[in-house]
Symmetry: C2
Subunit: 135 residues, 2 copies
Amino acid sequence: MRKRAAAAAATPRPTDAELEILNVLWQRGASTVRDVHQAITQTRPAMGYTTVLKLMQIMAEKNLVRRDESQRAHVYEAQLAREETQQQLIGHLLERAFEGSATKLVMQALSAKQTSAEELTTIREMLDEFERGDK
Amino acid sequence: MRKRAAAAAATPRPTDAELEILNVLWQRGASTVRDVHQAITQTRPAMGYTTVLKLMQIMAEKNLVRRDESQRAHVYEAQLAREETQQQLIGHLLERAFEGSATKLVMQALSAKQTSAEELTTIREMLDEFERGDK
DNA sequence: CTCGAAGTACGAAAGTTTTCGTTGACATTA
DNA sequence: TAATGTCAACGAAAACTTTCGTACTTCGAG
């Protein structure tokens, strides 16, 4: 018995290869397979066209992307906004490796990348926003 | 041709199941397979003993854990400190889904978990440390 | 010494992810 | 309209991950 039968359903966490495709869709907006393939080929050991096609078909099944089939060259679009997926991924990482502590994760993130003064300032401003009601 | 032949070599990113085992090792320190199995059984749909054993054997091959075979019940220990692995995982996530921007990741992390006032304070203190020389 | 318990090693199955080749449909143009 | 190029659909192979059953070894009672 498989996971999802047909329609509705929450989108699962994207795999690494899927994320690579999503990155292109988030950047370019709705795109055809060819568009995505070309974009990926730019920054990559190159992945075959049919590989990208297959992945995108699977992603459509998983509801990671929406597909417009009205044109011969189908047009794909990310189902979730980049931020929503980021939340999903962070949430998972938080559980798996940080005992659910966002603070610990933030600390490691800051020391992982040598963070610049400007960035630190940006983050402080963000903290202020979080402080007052916000959300 | 396979990945790693025999010795040396950087440890690869642990998979989800492997991370579950590492969490136990980080918490308890050096442990036998039985120890780990019991700990995991506590908080889990329960995973068979040999499953845990096999995973730990594989992890030893991958250098994710070190193994002391001097006793009949081998004793395993995490190869990397929790923080090092966290760095590894965050680094990967940063590349895959945050275009390398630690700031964006931090922002999402903060909104992912409803962060408490105390935590925000802790983070501010951390930022201060980062600001002055620090590391 | 024999039996059973506790361990490790192996191997293999099942699930998932990644990668493509091939096929057939459709469109463009010579 | 026949040849050429563009696309989607399939199917299947290869690599990884996860899960266990089974067999072999060792050790401590009886």
